[in-house]
């Protein structure tokens, strides 16, 4: 068969997604919630011997993911996670998506039901640049939070300190934290992350599992 008609396949892995990928043990069965064009899942399948499923609701992203050949389900994270069986994945990933769902606590509870390991990343509202913007009297905008307050998919904002307190309240233990620069690279030091991290990736485990 001619290869000339093939749809374009993978995009390069964003730096922050590369850090997410490093948290996934090779060979894992992975559920990627809000998988976008399937880039992370494709990488995990091709380079880390994983298998898995993506979930995506945006029509263009969904089509892009299908074109890369990753299994992807058109579901609503707020309504449909009950479709997945208890502890049916080794790892469930929610990358830069928690702030966009209606009911984050429900989504995290579903994730903890589906898997014993959760990877969650979220932009840090406590970044110094955001604090300066607020001090100057304006809502924060940055590379991590590029949207104007009136036109944004982000429904929830949290600092890393808030987020960790919230995880603890939901019975999710932080096994590992990877603070990232605004460019998505790993911060050299974990200290002061709430002030200098643009975002952070958390590896979480339901307490007692």
């Amino acid at each position: 068969m001619s290869d000339s008609n093939r749809l374009p396949v993978s995009h390069p892995l964003r730096p922050d997604l590369a850090h997410v990928a490093e948290l996934v043990p090779p060979g894992s069965r992975v559920l990627d919630l809000g998988c976008g064009p399937g880039t992370l899942l494709r990488h995990l399948i091709d380079d880390r011997g994983c298998s898995g499923t993506g979930v995506e609701h945006d029509p263009d992203m969904l089509l892009a993911a299908i074109s890369t050949g990753v299994p992807v389900l058109d579901l609503d994270l707020d309504a449909d996670l009950g479709e997945f069986s208890d502890r049916s994945y080794d790892m469930v990933i929610l990358s830069r998506t928690l702030q966009t769902v209606q009911r984050p606590s429900d989504v995290l509870a579903q994730m903890a039901r589906i898997s014993d390991r959760l990877v969650v990343s979220m932009p840090n509202f406590g970044l110094w640049r955001h604090r300066l913007r607020l001090l100057s009297g304006h809502m924060p905008q940055s590379r991590e939070l590029p949207f104007a307050w009136y036109d944004t998919p982000n429904l929830h904002h949290a600092t890393l300190v808030d987020l960790e307190h919230y995880f603890a309240g939901l019975g999710l233990e932080v096994e590992q934290r990877v603070p990232l620069t605004e460019a998505g690279r790993r911060l050299r030091t974990d200290r002061g992350a709430n002030l200098v991290a643009g975002a952070a990736i958390y590896l979480l485990r339901p307490v007692g599992r």
């Binding site: 068969m1 001619s2 008609n5 093939r6 749809l7 396949v9 069965r29 399948i45 091709d46 011997g49 298998s51 499923t53 029509p59 969904l62 089509l63 299908i66 074109s67 890369t68 050949g69 990753v70 299994p71 992807v72 389900l73 058109d74 579901l75 479709e83 997945f84 069986s85 049916s88």
Partner: protein
């Protein structure tokens, strides 16, 4: 099912697969009869089929099309002297979502049908008379047995994909569950793994309309008198279930067929005229006995209820695409989601998409861009990386 699309494909001959003809082949004969799942035997089985595109040297570019309840082998292109192209012509053709420049496409009339393949109105070789109700009851797996034999006849032992909508999707599901090694990818559109009580109720009323017709005569149609009233009522009622309420509203509203109202019990509203036309034209192409036999196969289909239903598929996983339409109340998204959930929890690679469309169940026959783009993307993704899907 018909195509309710108000805009037929423009000049299909210029763009589609061009002129085609339905061919016929005897796939089972007295010395090699078809043994049905129910235990009965058919000594002669002829199958009507069409093909589009070319089988490549490695015979790995073949796609099988399974049709719905009232479909036929003529899925694409034009027959000589006919203006209307095949029932899935908007999907199948050069450059179309199922691209015949790339794929070798096979479409056949299913067993028990009435469009060239052996069915209950065929002649029983034992008696020289039509089978009538002596025709054995069929099972979804019998359709698959015959499809597989047609593949062998055409030199195809492995399919890049098997594709079907509605009852067609049920055949795809049966096929992948029982012979997953036959295919890489499966596409199930507006389908179901198990009819609901409401689905069965509609089928039952359709069958009752046929069997209570005074010309039914226990399936022995004498003097060429056939249960036309019953069959057309079955068709009219079923057709209502193939469309959404909004589709009816948009297409007809409350408009009158002859402009002004003409009160009485005759045809007055445009929708009545439309249904009457659907019922009448159906008689020219469909057979009451096939309607009974095929709808009954759907009623009993429940493959996930079998013990170890998924064992073979888990041994030899097939990549699945499940598509539903949001306004389809005949085979709703919930029914597609059930297939999705069952396959996903068995760790079968599955992709699912619900398409927005106002047209109801019949959407699967219509040229809806996101729907066709989804099928194309799924058929054309590079499955070269063995470990992932295939």
């Amino acid at each position: 099912m018909t195509t309710p699309d108000p805009k037929p494909t423009a000049d299909p001959a210029a763009e589609g697969v061009g002129l085609v003809e339905t061919r016929s082949v005897q796939l089972f004969a007295r010395d090699d009869p078809l043994r049905l799942a129910g235990g009965a035997r058919l000594d002669e089985v002829d199958v009507a089929y069409e093909t589009y595109g070319h089988l490549n040297e490695t015979a790995d570019n073949a796609i099988y099309i399974c049709h719905a309840l009232t479909g036929d082998a003529h899925a694409a292109g034009l027959h000589v002297g006919e203006a209307r192209p095949g029932w899935w012509d908007n999907l199948i053709g050069p450059g179309r979502a199922i691209d015949t420049d790339r794929w070798f496409v096979v479409s056949s009339n299913l067993l028990g049908g009435c469009q060239g393949t052996t069915g209950p109105s065929s002649t029983n070789p034992e008696t020289g008379e039509p089978f009538g109700l002596d025709f054995p009851l069929l099972d979804m797996s019998d359709f698959v047995t015959v499809h597989r034999r047609l593949g062998e006849h055409l030199g195809v032992r492995h399919w890049h994909a098997v594709v079907g909508g509605s009852l067609g999707g049920m055949q795809v599901l049966e096929w992948e569950l029982t012979h997953p090694e036959d295919m890489d990818r499966a596409v199930l559109i507006a389908s179901s793994s198990r009819l609901t009580a409401q689905n069965i109720a509609f089928s039952a009323v359709g069958r009752q309309a046929i069997m209570r017709d005074e010309n039914f005569q226990n399936g022995r149609f004498v003097d060429e008198r056939t249960p036309d009233v019953g069959l057309s009522i079955a068709r009219m009622m079923a057709h209502i279930t193939y469309m959404s309420e909004d589709a009816f509203t948009e297409k007809f509203g409350r408009s009158h067929q002859y402009g002004a109202p003409s009160r009485g019990f005759g045809i007055d509203f445009a929708v009545e005229s439309y249904l009457d036309h659907q019922g009448e034209t159906f008689l020219t192409r469909f057979d009451a006995l096939s309607y009974l036999y095929l709808t009954r196969v759907m009623d009993y289909f429940d493959p996930f209820s079998r013990p170890d239903a998924l064992a073979r598929l888990q041994q030899s996983p097939v990549s699945n695409l499940i598509i539903s339409f949001d306004t389809d109340w005949r085979f709703s998204t919930a029914q597609s989601r059930r297939i999705m959930r069952t396959l996903e929890s068995a760790r079968i690679p599955v992709t699912f998409r619900e398409i927005q469309s106002p047209w109801g169940h019949d959407s699967f026959l219509l040229p809806i861009e996101p729907y066709h783009a989804t099928i194309r993307a799924f058929l054309e993704y590079d499955g070269g990386g063995q470990a992932t899907h295939e």
